[in-house]
Symmetry: C2
Subunit: 219 residues, 2 copies
DNA sequence: AAAAATATTTAAGTAAGCTTAAAAAAATAT
DNA sequence: ATATTTTTTTAAGCTTACTTAAATATTTTT
């Protein structure tokens, strides 16, 4: 399958795991930076290839085959991220940028080699789950966003849901890393801000960031 | 630059390092498995982009920019080969197949990371020289093909010039590997065959193979 | 429920990278 | 030196993945 097709099914799949699902062509177009017309064209094309179900004016729905393709691309993306992070000590932003291209040009054979080499990890350095070779993925996610945490409790960081360089730079500088521990010291609910303590530093985060940082309570 | 363009300049560059140089569009077309017409089209296109000089019915000549692009792609290809061979213990054929795709989707940033990680090697596992980040390549090659060796002398294998799976499988089975030592026990010049001794085994090679195995005499 | 705003689809067109078939030039053989 | 063969180029056409503009359907607002 072409890069365009792989990115299209990937965008639909990822959109479906968002809170606000909108898999109509226009929204996928916005995510991919192409015109609505191009997305409609592509949707018809992929329906012909049995990768999705297309009905005029309706939301796009991946078929089993379409979902499998999307998961295979996501698997390669996240394996590359884990591998590059470990091997070359590249930042969360750098590994994402590189994996965005490598994911389309990696054989299943090599993906399996990478996975074995890493000990078949279930999560990448952002905390995102890595689908296995059969397209099975860990979807049960009991973690909550930092916005919904309680004052005085300790949490471990389980997921950094972003593609943004500035966010990752900020995280890198402040020790906000997959697996690390934070203490929520104050919730400013009116101003939608959260104060946390990490590595003996106190930092104040606004909603933009607390919404995409996921954590698990330490009991 | 697109994959098609990168492969085109790479094919011209590689053809120029062959014994029999023929960089007219038809020959490049044959190497790439495309039609002559497509190669002529592409040649005009690349001339517009200042990657090569094109004159009707004449051989194609890479410009400095074209050569630099070709060397950059070859650098990435050979770095990936070296890396995959070392890290995942993949065969010479497997690394070539994988690198053929990865070479086009690797940033200079990552290529440099790989190079540093490997200790900036000058040769890949086939013995082919790896261009450095400035596009400089070791071209002085004092090695000779096994066909031109002398009976009773010892040689180290310096290069396996092929893309062929069967050849690499044969090499793998018989210890014919970059850096290994062979003793030439007999040259059957009439039948164009060479008998060698390696790892206490005696094997007889025909011209097809001895022409693409390059060695250096041990004095 | 109708009007206004928004989203989707259709239509027409473009560029890249190919194809085949025919025409033209160059290389080779006699 | 000419005829034959081979190679290169031109011409016309195809597919993929886009674009913009216009038409049409849906959704939201009032």
């Amino acid at each position: 399958m072409s890069v365009a097709i792989e990115n299209f099914v990937k965008a639909i799949y990822k959109n479906n795991s968002n809170d606000v699902k909108n898999t109509k062509p226009g929204n996928i177009a916005k995510l991919l930076g192409i015109s609505n017309a191009a997305a409609t064209d592509m949707a018809k094309n992929l329906a012909n290839k049995n990768l999705l179900n297309y009905e005029k004016y309706k939301a796009l729905e991946l078929t089993k085959a379409g979902e499998k393709l999307a998961l295979n691309v996501i698997r390669k993306h996240r394996l590359w991220e884990a591998f590059l992070h470990k091997t070359f000590d590249m930042s969360l932003h750098e590994i994402h940028r590189e994996a965005e291209f490598l994911e389309h040009e990696t054989s299943n054979f090599l993906a399996n080699k990478i996975s074995t080499y890493l000990g078949n990890p279930k999560f990448d350095p952002h905390g995102d789950p890595i689908p296995n070779a059969n397209g099975e993925i860990t979807t049960i996610d009991t973690s909550i966003s930092l916005s919904n945490t309680k004052e005085g409790k300790n949490y471990t960081i389980s997921r950094l849901m972003s593609d943004d360089k500035e966010f990752f730079d900020f995280c890198g500088l402040n020790g906000l890393k997959y697996g690390n521990t934070v203490l929520v010291t104050k919730q400013f609910s009116k101003n939608k801000m959260t104060q946390i303590s990490i590595n003996n530093n106190t930092i104040l985060l606004n909603e933009d960031f607390t919404n995409i940082i996921y954590v698990n309570e330490i009991k």
